[in-house]
Symmetry: D2
Subunit: 347 residues, 4 copies
């Protein structure tokens, strides 16, 4: 059994990891770290898991953790992971970071958008971007993985086949993203209160959301040329789920929807976490809820010569913790979807 530790175990990402790893046949949870809740039984924070989890949250000491764990997930705020990971790696752990710290090939971009100085390019450059559908092979040998969050995951899975095949004008990409509010984490904020969020939808951080450069970085790799795109996140009155509506101008005016469907199906043939929907069917986020599956549908508008791609994920699973486990499975040589849910409860 692989011994797993989770640092930042009491947030929404942490509790997803705990819940899914409980059902994973090849791992045991050996350590739950949470500085603010050190000494508290995990079951006192999440009583619904009391019959399954007996562990107590502990303070974060990387050297001690490395002795007890083979794999460590970091569910800490941006700027923490790059201080913890080196000691964990040195202690022989594989590290899966859910923050932004290890997602950028160029730390200058990270510094510009996240405002933190970084001098660890040596370690950072060994990190693999944890999107299995695009980086499956490197992930099989990864010790340090920068796992993308919900916006880049759903956006990149929607656009990758188009860019890879050179079917669209990369500068025409517009991503209109709709996210459930759990993406804001388990933090007591007025903007996340039920009474504020319910019955309301709004955009935020227009033209300046931090995930923009991250999506652009991977799009640039896929296109082979620098890509600048439009990314607009919206908050939706639901706890879980994310929908991406992506617009782009087709290069070839003769392409029809069926052509693109063929391209997508080929691109994702080996990807068990992606399901391309039949023609005319668009995904609902409820279908993805409670699963590590991304549903993708698309349409071509012959009037405007645009393609519209819609992708849906569970923001906390395929958009966060489930994907991190998928990366772990690959790096440990397990079956890619081992222990991960693939069908949700409906309704």
């Amino acid at each position: 059994m692989t011994r797993v530790g989770i640092i930042g175990a009491t947030g929404y990402g942490g509790v997803q990891l705990v819940r899914m790893l409980l059902d994973h046949p090849q791992v045991e949870i050996a350590y739950l770290g949470a500085n603010q809740n050190a000494g508290t039984r995990f079951a006192d924070i999440y009583p619904h898991l009391g019959h399954r989890v007996r562990l107590t949250c502990e303070a974060v000491d990387p050297v001690a953790i490395a002795k007890r764990c083979d794999v460590v997930f970091l569910g800490t705020p941006n700027g923490i992971a790059h201080r913890l990971a080196p000691a964990l790696l040195e202690g022989g752990c594989k590290v899966f970071d859910l923050s932004a710290d290890y997602r950028f090939t160029d730390l200058a971009v990270y510094q510009q958008w996240y405002g933190q100085e970084r001098t660890d390019q040596a370690t950072s450059s060994t990190a693999i971007y944890g999107l299995p559908e695009l980086f499956r092979e490197p992930l099989r040998h990864a010790n340090l993985v920068g796992c993308p969050g919900c916006y880049p995951t759903a956006s990149l899975l929607a656009v990758a086949p188009l860019l890879k095949q050179g079917l669209i004008d990369p500068q025409s990409i517009i991503i209109d993203a709709k996210s459930g509010v759990s993406g804001a984490g388990r933090e007591a904020k007025i903007g996340s209160l039920f009474a504020e969020v319910e019955s309301s939808v709004a955009a935020y951080n227009i033209a300046r959301h931090r995930h923009t450069p991250e999506i652009e970085q991977i799009c640039t790799q896929l296109a082979g040329n620098p890509v600048q795109l439009q990314f607009t996140p919206h908050l939706i009155p639901m706890a879980r789920g994310m929908l991406i509506t992506l617009y782009a101008q087709l290069r070839d005016p003769g392409l029809i929807g069926e052509d693109l469907l063929t391209v997508y199906e080929a691109f994702y043939r080996q990807s068990p976490a992606v399901r391309v929907l039949p023609s005319g069917i668009y995904p609902q986020t409820k279908w993805a809820s409670g699963t590590n599956t991304c549903f993708i549908g698309m349409e071509v508008d012959p009037r405007t010569n645009r393609v519209i791609v819609v992708s849906a994920i569970d923001n906390l699973i395929k958009g966060q913790s489930g994907q991190a486990i998928q990366c772990m499975n690959l790096s440990l040589g397990y079956e890619e979807m081992l222990g991960l849910p693939t069908v949700g409860f409906y309704p």
Copy 2:
């Protein structure tokens, strides 16, 4: 007192009309028409209005209605109004139609998208498009008004100043629309069930929604050239409210957000139903809920040279029945917002 009749009084649009007209100081509700519910007390359908409404629903007989009413609102499905309106107009009524029947200057476009033959161009061409912010003067003399619904209202209010001033490339317009589910009406449909809608968001009718040609018709008038645009509606897990996120390419790369704010403020200075928000503030649909107000915010992205405009309305009020009353006020010479709510309850 102006005597008002409502045909199609028991749907969501009808009950909004009833509720707001109860508070209107210059009208009395003289007739409630609903063929399916003829003979039923309105208060039996909506018990919460029992202390205010004593009327019984009646069958629809235009000649009889014209004798009892000065003004008639038509809240009937598409394709009904153009059969009822002529008799009502002949009987001396002013007619405010909430369906698509009288919104098109070219009936061929209506026939193409709505699949019904029309031979009433003579009557139809007297209809005014019921968006007061763009057609205030003609509405003052209108007897027949084709009131736009929520998608065109929120879209056109978001884009009108840009097109009127020639600030954007009209072919670059993308409208990503998010609608509360009451827009689907009070019809028993599986897709509108609570258990299907809650915790879910999805796109529908991509590249083929019927409101596309209607929005394009007015945009074409504003731009002075034929406009084709992208319109994608989404269903949001909320009862009321609509948010439009509109993208367009700026013609002048030197424009900044403050410039546009000035343009919008000038454009809507005489429009009591539109509120342009200060720089950096984007609207939430909850702010508009229960009001006849449209909130508009915007941002310029200097990286992509696009403008992103966000508008929020209550889909059933400014996006439907409230706007119809606003048109009625203009055509009867009342103060434009008379009897209409301008501030909502929050939260």
Copy 3:
């Protein structure tokens, strides 16, 4: 015009007061107090009111406030009002307190349940309990009013006719209350986050909620004998609204539903804020949303000889700020429902 001040203006109760007083024809808002937000424009906190409210929040100085206001609403946490009210009363203001400070005839009960010492029995004993349906006459001459919140309001309106007429065994009363989450106020708390509240219902403070002794105090007055009852509050995944389901054993096994309906209709004949529903109709909280109306329905179970009464209110209006304005109207000699909404938007 009556000059009105609101202390604690930025909470959910405060913003309701502001919104409704804006529509009140006999008052002007002269002062908004909020120590934490002193110096901030009210419209910066609630941008949707920016076109109607120009005031800036100010620090709380009772002597200064008394000079500028004829009436002051106190929307402060429990334990603050009894320190502010004396100076306001001395300065000639009428005071309407929305906290628990002035609701108890016996301050020992307050001290026991709220844990604060009180030595102001002299002032406190001049306070009138602000439930107009039970204390209309004393309220006409009141200068200090302790306005009840949502649980006591909906509970007492449901049970009052039964106790007053001696129709039930008072010791058999069970109140099962369902509340929207806005009742917890605009405080950043994990338990009020959207992701925690949505799709969930739970009981809290079973057998020890602070509103129990307050409800019992008024029930005791109505029954003429000490009453102890069961009160269980539940949190419901909705922002606004409250439903009370009240159970009691009938004294006379021959009573039928129609008898009770007659009793309730007689009891509330002069009460414009209460609407007794026809036989067989039970209220939905949505009907009451956005109104100062309480809807009441009831049923007798001949099998168990119990009466079940259901009442529905908007917890923030009839259950809080609307009722406080209703009390103000009475004490200033205005029409009882002046400026208060009586019909909601549906759906």
Copy 4:
């Protein structure tokens, strides 16, 4: 592998069965019956299951079904199962009925509350009531099981230990039930529309809900004396989940909460689907969502000498299809919780 058929496969109960049986290691789904959808691919109705389910819905022919299935679940409306079951039993199937047809020991009670004549007492009397926590041993040998729905399941699990131990006055039982709207099934009804249900709570069928006699039947067996109780269902704005708040008068005024906790823990020690919560913790329905677990918390009120028990389940799993699988597991000799989810996703 046990071959399983589902009749009524396209409703909410059916799709739960399909989803859970897909994960069950000892069964294969051999037949999906749905007369209205006969000939339609199941994946066309539920596209999110398209990657897992290849079956097409078929017409209902009991004789043919019996040849292809070892076990049949009946998810049909009340009154259908008793016409289908005899042929299935004769064909050698084990039958698990999710309707009310086989829940009553006395068919006269069924006839009185469900309005259908029944002459099949011989077959009917072989049926076991499918609540494993109370009828585990008989279920191990059952061929025909009448599986209870959500209201009786959550109610009986809450009250059983009290009645079995004689700790309460049975005539004092009041059950205030709160149900998610999926309990109404996947039927197009106005009362189940999102716009009607959201932001609203209401009681229905007060004093006359059909589950009352069913709960009373089992309570009578537990108490050893005829029990009549009060049952009031409420609709809550959530898709899934059920909370029962149960009130009863304690016989012994000296009992405290810890005593009852001990009684409950002992009663459910061998029941893997029930989790008794620690003192002071009350369940939230969200904890039970997506699981076959019932959470129970309780409190004693020394002031009123009442016990208040709160139980939470997922109405579609432990309250319906999960419980039916639990019964199947017992009757086939599998581990009781085989293939059933025990921990939910949170939030």
